[in-house]
Symmetry: C2
Subunit: 334 residues, 2 copies
């Protein structure tokens, strides 16, 4: 295992400290937990957004704390959900009079812990609701679909709605609208190494790839011979277009990311074919994000996310955001 | 070789096409060359900045084209200087009445080709000057030092000065002031693979690292046993502080990057110790950039850059920029 760390098991604490040291104008760290809070939260009248999950998905989720996106991000140990008391404390730390929306990725541990914490907050009189993101079309049954890179579009749009001081019900409606219209799919060219485990999450031959992976270094739903960038772009787009029933004339926002270990050169080569392929199908690209958004440690690979957008979602995607990883308006290469 | 490409040799053309497709609001592609130009350049009265170099350093250099930074970036083939006619055409494409400043990294091929093109532009009556960046302290003799990640601070500050419509002499003065006060040093945990070569640029044992590498996948000046993130941060900072003769009470801007293949978790762990170490020495951090800025394909590793800043340079670092990879004001995690 070759990693720029100190001691396996210390990586999350030290990373969160590093983020807080680098960007004190944006975030503050909870004195007890690996939680990052927007410096000025809670903001009276503004719904507070809370998200998080296991670490290893950076810049998710701490990178999205700030104006126009999240008020709190809870970082669990690598690929492990944050605990109920940790999430509960995050909700209490940022809860405003307008209430709290919790954005949960559809993984068993996250759903259990975030929902439990949200219910505890409700029991304490904090107006709290939640949404569950399940954008991964690699899994056939929607209820079992994992929450992956599309989650960042939920943070962005719900965050922009909250910034406009919409009530909790409306912020939740916007979040759910994104969830209903966003799909992602991912491939891996390499596994990754969880620091405490010290060995790769799976073995893969030099000419093989995993198709339909999650974000925890797990194998995909299918192993294939390595394909070209163009073939991979077409495969991922085709599956998403079919699932979303995207039609000619519709508009989308796109995320192309590298899963943590793939450099910008390759991400832009993938984006090129995604753009061409959508254009050939008569689908218009309203917003393009190319970078790292919801990763799996140092895994090489790529994921494509498409969000069907209308004027409302386009406005929220382009609304101002000032976080560690995303600044809009302007292009986004987190 | 596991890469998201199509055919080795096509990677640069396709990447540049991808960048232009993703961010048409920022850049336009030269119809003939792998050059990206700021969409609205040339801008009357504004000095135009031209830079570039071999590809494989993304987001450099195309990612820095846009408001507040470059007017043109020339992309050579992977790790190969762009050609003289290509650079000459870029200068002509963006030259304004205020003139052109060419920002060259100190590599033999780049210096020869960019200087030759600049002299050809002068011969055609275009007011043209240049600076050469040599921030790599791994090399003892300053004249032989390579231009690495510190180059991006030159783009940022000179770009901000040009945006204020300062004359060419002043923009050059700002660029040279950054060069005189910026130093970088880098380590590699893995080699990288140039697509056309198809094999790693060097071999490295599972517990070894290269110290003092350039940005072309070359070996470092020294091979060492793998060190912890903290030890690496201290080693790199110490060498730079000594070379820059940084004193207690001075202020710096910092870049911590991952060299292309190192994920955000590790970059923030390195940043944490850089921040602590500088603070222990009484050096204040005015600006922190954490991300990918001047990389070596998929190489894992990290580089640290320190720039001694005063009020003028801080103002230029924080001035507005709207490029593919850098948006300020705000934090920067390209």
């Amino acid at each position: 295992m070759k990693k720029l760390i100190n001691k396996p098991g210390d990586e999350v604490k030290e990373m969160i400290e590093g983020m807080a040291l680098a960007f004190p104008q944006i975030v503050r760290k909870d004195p007890k937990w690996n939680n990052l809070y927007r410096r000025e939260s809670p903001i009276p009248g503004k719904v507070s957004l809370v998200s998080g999950g296991g670490s290893g998905h950076e810049p998710a989720h701490g990178g999205y704390v700030g104006k126009g996106m999240l008020d709190a991000a809870c970082a669990g140990e690598t690929f492990t959900s944050p605990t109920v008391p940790q999430i509960f404390d995050a909700i209490k730390a940022v809860a405003s009079d307008a209430g709290v929306l919790v954005i949960i990725k559809n993984f068993a541990g996250d759903v259990m812990n975030f929902q439990t914490a949200a219910k505890m907050a409700r029991a304490q009189g904090i107006k709290t609701d939640w949404v569950i993101v399940n954008d991964d079309v690699a899994i056939p049954e929607p209820a079992k679909r994992r929450g992956i890179a599309g989650t960042v579009f939920v943070h962005k749009c719900a965050g922009a709605a909250a910034e406009e001081l919409l009530p909790l019900e409306e912020v939740k409606r916007v979040a759910q609208k994104v969830i209903d219209n966003v799909r992602s799919m991912s491939v891996a060219l390499t596994p990754c190494v969880v620091p405490k485990a010290g060995k790769p999450t799976f073995e893969l031959g030099p000419d093989e790839m995993e198709v339909g992976i999650g974000i925890h270094g797990e194998k995909g739903v299918e192993r294939r011979k390595l394909m070209t960038a163009n073939e991979i772009a077409e495969l991922l787009c085709s599956r998403i277009i079919e699932d979303l029933k995207l039609d000619k004339g519709e508009e989308v926002a796109v995320i192309v990311q590298g899963n943590g270990g793939t450099p910008y050169m390759e991400k832009f080569i993938v984006y090129r074919r995604v753009h061409q392929f959508l254009t050939e199908k008569g689908i218009k690209i309203a917003v393009a994000w190319v970078g790292e958004f919801m990763t799996s440690l140092e895994m090489a690979g790529t994921s494509v996310t498409l969000l069907r957008v209308d004027e409302e979602l386009k406005r929220y995607l382009n609304a101002p955001a000032e976080t560690i990883a995303i600044h809009t308006p302007g292009p986004v290469t987190s």
